[in-house]
Subunit: 251 residues, 2 copies
């Protein structure tokens, strides 16, 4: 049983609520602005909004569940009979993390065959990464936490390898107006995704209110960067490439 201060209880709940509103707002931005890009990039920008939409939904659920799991009595935070269901984070990641790598592949407009092979390899790696990390998160046995955390790092390193070695050549062949941004998108993915295992391993062995707060705020900030921040870069790539296409077709 975790003991939370009133301040920690409110801060975590607020962060869920704040993140849900940011994700929903970003969804509207991406979906409305699909009209700004040429047909070739519309699916990509729509998927960018799908990622933030699913995140908005799950953060809303996290907020509701958090609010139901605790009650204030005599100036302190008590657990109710409704357990907090942090599993909504995994429901979110399971759907959105494969889509994030697919976004990056789609916006590059590689040959169809390469898009499919690279996209499916990266999506499978992403699913394995989330799936292997999950047993470690729900376990309270320390060595389980380390074991599944370590197992989950396997697919993560595979993803890093795919993005740098596998995609390196394809990125250097991107049109000049997009090359820098595609490289930034790739680096952002690796850098922000690296933040998740840091939060995960940092958290092992700590159960107090401060650990719970850092764990939840850490993942929430990482989710905003990985989905909204990354999504804006993908959107900018799509806009630039669309402008270049319109110029070259004389439209």
């Amino acid at each position: 049983m975790t003991s939370l201060s009133i301040w920690e209880f409110h801060l975590i709940g607020l962060s869920f609520s704040f993140c849900a509103s940011i994700m929903a707002a970003a969804t509207a931005f991406f979906w409305i602005n699909t009209s700004q890009v040429t047909i070739a990039y519309r699916a990509t920008v729509t998927i960018t909004g799908i990622v933030t939409f699913i995140a908005a939904y799950n953060y809303f659920r996290l907020f509701q569940s958090w609010d139901a799991a605790f009650t204030l009595a005599n100036g302190s935070v008590k657990e109710t009979s409704a357990a907090f269901q942090g599993i909504f984070r995994y429901a979110d990641w399971f759907a959105t993390v494969p889509l994030l790598v697919i976004e990056l592949i789609l916006v590059m407009r590689l040959p169809a065959k390469e898009t499919f092979s690279r996209g499916s390899r990266l999506a499978i790696a992403a699913l394995l990464m989330i799936g292997l990390g999950y047993p470690g998160t729900v376990s309270s046995v320390t060595w389980h936490e380390w074991l599944f955390g370590a197992l989950s790092m396997g697919p993560f390193l595979w993803i890093v390898w795919e993005l740098y070695i596998g995609l390196g050549d394809a990125i250097s062949k991107q049109p000049p107006e997009a090359r820098g941004l595609v490289s930034i998108a790739r680096n952002t993915t690796v850098l922000v995704w690296f933040f998740y295992p840091v939060v995960y391993f940092f958290h092992i062995g700590y159960t107090g209110g401060i650990a719970v707060t850092i764990y939840n705020l850490g993942y929430t900030v990482a989710d905003i960067l990985a989905k909204v921040g990354f999504g804006i870069i993908i959107y900018m790539i799509a806009v630039r490439k669309s402008e270049a296409e319109r110029r070259s077709s004389g439209a």
Copy 2:
């Protein structure tokens, strides 16, 4: 503990509900009418709607929290165990105030580099202004309230300086059909934003029902002016500039 009359309790709750509905309606207006402006201004008008969307969400939360925090018993208002979470105001401001200055910069269509440098400077100043004011709001120690209020005025004055001295030249170079409105948008920002510290400093030292009512109604009115009123001016600028663009391209 604040003692509220039934009248004050209902009035504040009603103002949250009213404001949520106005913000949601404004969101629909801005998002639907993105199709009225040329591609160059669509992101700007979308962001205008994002600001009111996030505000609608947080006013909805304020209303829910207000309603849960009090109960009527024997003809008077009693606090429940659920504390009122006025912090949703800060969640709103933290997300929307930087976006408001970015709206103004985007609608001016400055060169890309200047857009980025001025936009990021103003956004950072806005975040500092909100962040420094927050500890003063949650503290009940009078000198803390004055101190953080005063600290928060630093970034506010920096914003005023940026908008008048920094942007003065760029505003005078706006196309004639937009120049007057851009100037009005700038003046509205400074004037309405000045209203927030007035409410803040006025409020210090008062804890009764009337003070709580003025504080909440003051911020609510200011939020409607700063987001919906300001947003309509931004939208009008985007429409006028779009019309001028269409005329000059002979479309």
